[in-house]
């Protein structure tokens, strides 16, 4: 074991307050939509739940609210870290490619998110757009011809099934990782976890805090001033434990 075993546990901030609020608003809306949607779609559940008109009304309003938390988080000034994380999710490195294969996974030096998390985020983002569009066609159907209404319903149904699979997977992976789970509730992860699981991000964080200390304790380090890649770009990094 390394020497850190005797020192008190140190934490690194992973998700700021804006990101956590956006996440939990999304989670609430998604669960509402999945439950009401399933009650409208699965015959056996329709039988149990009934109240079709009320369920449909809740479903439509929750659907219209769905894009609001994310857009809000992206647009407000305090959403700087959310915007930077979206940029991280967009970029796929050679390490990400190595991670997909079991054979080369051990050598992958990951950044803040693993490729599975990136794919999850991209899929959920696209699903919000698709569900909102096709759902609107289903709800305000008058101007659309039959084949478009049927096509929109078809896309809505299949995307719903994919979303259920993805959300169940997302929750199961989260429950299997205490540190990740901790960070979406309280914001931070153990430094030892970051060093082991996300070495490239860990190095970024360490160099940024060193940077801010040398700049006179200025902790208001803006996204534009960070120098992460420049110092840790070689992929040759000590891995903790």
């Amino acid at each position: 074991m390394s020497a850190t075993a005797s020192t008190p546990t140190r934490y690194l901030p992973r998700f700021d307050r804006v990101e956590r609020v956006v996440h939990w608003c999304n989670a609430t809306l998604f669960l509402t939509l999945v439950f009401t949607g399933a009650s409208l779609y699965v015959s056996q559940l329709s039988t149990l739940v009934g109240h079709r008109h009320t369920v449909k009304t809740i479903h439509v309003y929750a659907g219209l609210l769905l894009p609001i938390p994310l857009l809000f988080g992206i647009l407000i000034p305090g959403g700087r870290q959310l915007r930077r994380d979206l940029s991280r999710i967009n970029r796929w490195t050679d390490d990400d490619r190595r991670w997909w294969s079991r054979r080369t996974r051990a050598s992958a030096q990951l950044g803040k998110f693993n490729p599975g998390q990136k794919l999850n985020a991209v899929f959920v983002g696209a699903a919000i757009v698709l569900m909102l569009t096709t759902g609107s066609i289903m709800r305000w159907f008058e101007p659309f011809p039959d084949n478009i209404r049927t096509g929109a319903t078809w896309v809505h149904d299949w995307t719903f099934i994919a979303l259920v699979v993805v959300i169940v997977g997302h929750i199961m992976f989260a429950l299997g990782d205490v540190d990740s789970l901790r960070s979406i509730f309280f914001g931070s992860v153990r430094e030892s976890w970051a060093r082991r699981e996300r070495p490239r991000w860990w190095a970024e964080m360490i160099s940024e805090s060193a940077e801010s200390r040398s700049a006179g304790g200025d902790v208001e380090t803006g996204g534009d001033e960070r120098i992460g890649e420049a110092t840790v770009g070689t992929g040759e990094m000590p891995v903790g434990d």
Binding site: Y41, V42, S43, S46, T47, L48, V49, G50, H51, R52, H53, S87, R88, I89, N90, R91, W92, T93, D94, D96, G111, K118, L119, A121, V122, F123, G125, A126, A127, V129, L130, T133, T134, I137, M138, F141, E142, P145, D146, N147, I148, R149, T150, G151, A152, T153, W154, V155, D157, W158, T159, I161, G223, D224, R226, E229, G233
Partner: protein, 234 residues
């Protein structure tokens, strides 16, 4: 600052949106194909959960599906008639039956081909009651307490409008609107009032539950609600 690596995330995002757009344009055709080519036999019923077409979806507007045992079931015909009457389930089944094999088309788009309905012609029940001259329309009442429907007298007298008590050879289940429901073959499904307990002859059309929700009162398949489905009954 840009992160290292290629912008694959954006490409996957746009790819998914593009796939969804293609699905909206061609999904109807794909669904027709899968409905025709996937095997029909599925003892688990799990394939009903997949959007591959050709199966009933069950709608109820109250809490749960109203249940009434056949021995407790009664159907009343009254209003502007000479001889109002009430039938038990057994009396209804004892009347000369009519068989209709037609597609069942929902206004939301799904269609179940070749459904076999057994029931009694509505015109037969109206003959027996004797509609008075000022009786020009009908009001149908469901025992769920909420669902109502309407037809004009001329529509009600068509030979493809029945009070159905069996579907595909089996007694009508509660999901399907049993013990007995209206089946208006040439119109969208919402016109076929489920859990039927009362047929009232009235002097003008009173729009029913789904018509209050915005659907057309005259719900002809292919000629209403802005749809152009193939007619289910000529």
């Amino acid at each position: 600052m840009t992160e290292a690596g290629s912008p694959i995330g954006r490409r996957v995002f746009l790819g998914l949106i593009g796939a969804g757009a293609l699905g909206v344009l061609f999904g109807a055709r794909i669904q027709n194909f899968t409905a025709d080519h996937l095997p029909k036999r599925d003892p688990t019923g799990l394939s009903d959960l997949l959007p591959v077409g050709d199966h009933f979806r069950f709608y109820t507007v109250t809490s749960g599906f109203p249940k009434r045992a056949p021995q407790d079931y009664k159907l009343t015909v009254d209003g502007l008639v000479d001889k109002p009457f009430t039938l038990t389930y057994d009396e209804l089944r004892a009347l000369p039956p009519t068989l209709l094999t037609k597609d069942f088309q929902c206004v939301t788009g799904w269609r179940v081909p070749n459904t076999k309905w057994t029931g009694v012609k509505l015109s037969q029940l109206l003959d027996r009651a004797g509609v008075q001259p000022n009786g020009t329309a009908l009001r149908f009442v469901s025992f769920d307490g909420v669902y109502t429907e309407s037809l004009t007298l001329a529509q009600a007298l068509r030979p493809d409008v029945i009070v159905a008590y069996a579907l595909d050879g089996t007694p009508l289940s509660s999901d399907h609107g049993g013990p007995a429901r209206l089946y208006v073959a040439p119109m969208y499904g919402y016109k076929s009032c489920k859990w039927l307990e009362r047929i009232e002859v009235v002097d003008h059309v009173v729009p029913g539950y789904w018509e209050d929700e915005g659907y057309d009162v005259d719900g002809w398949v292919g000629r209403s609600n802005g749809r152009d489905d193939a007619p289910t009954s000529s």
